[in-house]
Symmetry: C2
Subunit: 208 residues, 2 copies
């Protein structure tokens, strides 16, 4: 029975090398109703990058205006660097259509999003162990020893933020991680707090 619901905002974090991108891509390949959030940035487009697809490209003035208008779920600005932010409008429009939006973001960003959007679902993708994560980074063959050390140390810091997340998915076997993400999506849609309209209809004698 068709019961059109507001889509979910899935905030996904996890250390570099854990395979967030692989898991999310596999999830999206199976579910066309899942979208990846598109960030806004003040940096210039690189060749081939399309506005509204890879990023929403903004001038510094436009970005500042959006900040003033509270148009971001979160944004980040390091002095002298480009701005990056998550526009509320894209996320909200997709969710209103019933699509789910995945937002890949670091642990600081995730906290800001949860504060701005309390019904966001926070998922942390963790490695089976720090040593396995390190081995994966080494296996890429593209990282210097220093980069690997920095990333491993950062990973430990990030893992300490795990209790702030709603769910923890261990990316051991990608297919299993994807199934777990699917279970999280399905279960979250069944939360009574997300079905207040349905409950009102049901107690009012309507068919839902």
């Amino acid at each position: 029975m068709a019961r059109k619901k507001k889509g979910l905002l899935l905030v996904v974090s996890g250390p570099a090398g854990v395979g967030k991108g692989t898991v999310n891509a596999a999830l999206m390949a199976k579910h066309p109703e899942i979208r990846m959030s598109v960030s806004a940035t003040t940096r210039l487009p690189r060749p081939g990058e399309i506005d509204g697809v890879h990023y929403f490209f903004k001038t510094k003035e436009e970005f500042d205006r959006m900040i003033a208008e509270d148009a971001f779920l979160e944004y980040m600005h390091v002095f002298g660097m480009n701005y990056y932010g998550t526009p509320k409008s894209f996320v909200e429009e997709e969710r209103e259509k019933g699509n789910h939006v995945i937002l890949e973001i670091d642990v600081q960003g995730a906290k800001k999003v949860k504060a701005a959007c309390p019904d966001a679902v926070l998922v942390f993708i963790a490695p089976p162990s720090l040593s396995i994560l390190k081995a994966r980074l080494v296996g890429r063959g593209t990282e210097t020893q220093e980069s690997i050390d920095v990333r491993t140390a950062t990973a430990l810091d990030e893992l300490k933020a795990l209790p702030d997340y709603d769910y923890m998915v261990i990316n051991d076997v990608v297919e299993e991680a994807v199934s777990e993400m699917e279970a999280i999506l399905s279960a979250e849609l069944l939360r009574t707090g997300r079905n207040t309209e349905l409950i009102t209809k049901l107690t009012g004698g309507e068919t839902i």
Copy 2:
């Protein structure tokens, strides 16, 4: 990878005729690690009933002692009637083994269980509408008109307790309801709050 976890306590409510028993039986048939909670009662066994399987049969004195020892998740006693209760020990022992326990109980009982066991997962099985529920009761061909009217009125009262539940599963097609129960179980096991030991191991450098 084997990560033995404490099983879940799934409290399942729903109006008479909604098909709770059918959904739970189908779920248990697929998952041998799910057990049905066994109640204790002071009523005498009926022919064929086995102690510890259908009920834990207790004398009035034994039941009173268990109440004094806080050995029930919830119990009910209407003056002059038999006692019924949910012993904590059975639920805890099964959960410690990693099994999930389903407790089918009314909305008052569910509230008591949630208070005694805050990590219980409360699922309400709802009909697609009150009129469909009524039609199902009529279809049984075993209920008097008066009984149907009483049950439909009770159902409406029960539906009003929906916001106290964590999840709502609409039993429209049994197989879909079973899949939804499975998603709830899978997702709940991924909650960070249920994985504090794993998180400690992971941040301590262990493989999980």
